[in-house]
Symmetry: C2
Subunit: 242 residues, 2 copies
């Protein structure tokens, strides 16, 4: 028997994730990578500062970006996958177990619709107001939060929470009968707002139960350990039973 | 020989597209359906007016939505697919020829990145200003266009056009070596702005040549016949050689 070292698994990659801990879209991909048991190295990006190196990686400047490099001795090409629309599909293609797009056509379309909901609605109706005032202004040194904008963001958030509650009143998971990227997208978004104590969970019992289940998954643990300098997490942020 | 009528093809569907002729995202799906030779019935939606029936179809109120109903005598379930993120993936799954997500992993990720570019950047940096002022205010009866907002939208548009020009200077198609949804997404967006004569094509020679090729595809013909009441198309809008 030769004493050659064990060859890496075919298609084994070293993964680098360029992300920001409190960017909801970055969080979605961290959850997806965790759920699929794909390890990665952290590359925090301060997206609110000029960063030519990151713009060369992703010309839009948006997060997250994943690079994959074949392990030494492994076959394969380098990959660079920018932003969630490409990333979620890519992860499902290269690591189909567990599957996070449901197998039923309608439920799969529903999951993709809901993932898009956060990019096309929630980001602009809630995050652009509430998260911008509470977090981004602090990051960019943009002055005191605007109370009117925060109030408008909070009102919009209530509408969204009521909508998620109505879905979960009749469904096992957000998109239907199976756990999907829609659940991780929603949990990623709400987890950031929950850090800032902006989710009144007692008003949304189905949503609260669902979030307790999501939070209990091993993939969630790294997110619950995130800390934003100068801003302590809400009291219950990291509690699995809250 | 019995005189029974020809059975419909297996998996044959009657398709209804809920869309607005000058909504760029709706245009992308019309192009994709045309490219894949899938016929559909038109259901124009006046998305700027309250429409409970449409909100029951898509709770976000966003366009487009496609429904599929098995043809009489054909097997299958009803489908309802909301918005482009779900629609483009669905069309690729049910009608994989011609394939509009490239086969190479990096080029596929690049195509998805560029499709997302229009939803996460172009819509907010260009359309929310320029198209809102030139078109939406007219639709909603919202008064005269704001000159400052139009100017800001035009400046942003120049940056985007320069970026597309730089890509097409070194690539056959927007995402690389093969025609993809990225090309149709970009052409759909620029076609709306071109109706309003907002694209100064002579400054972007590679983009112009590419757009002439896109415009010449049969799937483009219905878009070139679209008319917005009260607003004539730019002189060259429907010209294949401009």
């Amino acid at each position: 028997m030769s004493a050659s070292p064990a060859a890496p698994a075919p298609g084994a990659y070293v993964r680098q994730l360029y992300h920001f801990a409190f960017d909801p879209h970055s969080r979605l991909v961290r959850l997806a990578l965790g759920e699929k048991k794909l390890s990665f190295e952290d590359n925090p990006v301060r997206y609110w500062e000029p960063d030519d190196a990151f713009l060369r990686l992703n010309p839009s400047g948006l997060l997250p970006v994943l690079t994959e490099t074949p392990e030494a001795g492994s076959q394969g090409q380098n990959h660079r996958i920018c932003e969630n629309r490409a990333l979620l599909e890519h992860l499902e293609e290269v690591a189909p177990t567990p599957n996070l797009w449901p197998r039923d056509i309608n439920e799969r379309a529903e999951a993709r619709r809901l993932v898009g909901w956060f990019e096309r609605k929630f980001d602009y109706e809630v995050n652009a107001l509430l998260l911008h005032e509470k977090m981004e202004k602090r990051l960019i040194g943009g002055g005191a939060p605007d109370i009117g904008a925060m109030r408008a963001g909070r009102e919009a958030l209530k509408d969204h929470l009521r909508y998620f509650e109505s879905l979960l009143a009749t469904r096992d998971w957000l998109a239907g009968q199976s756990l999907s990227y829609a659940d991780f997208a929603c949990a990623a978004q709400l987890s950031v707002l929950d850090y800032f104590d902006e989710v009144n969970w007692t008003r949304y019992p189905h949503l609260k139960t669902w979030y307790m289940v999501m939070k209990s998954r091993p993939c969630f643990r790294p997110l619950l350990a995130d800390k934003l300098p100068g801003v302590p997490a809400s009291r219950h942020y990291a509690e699995l039973d809250f």
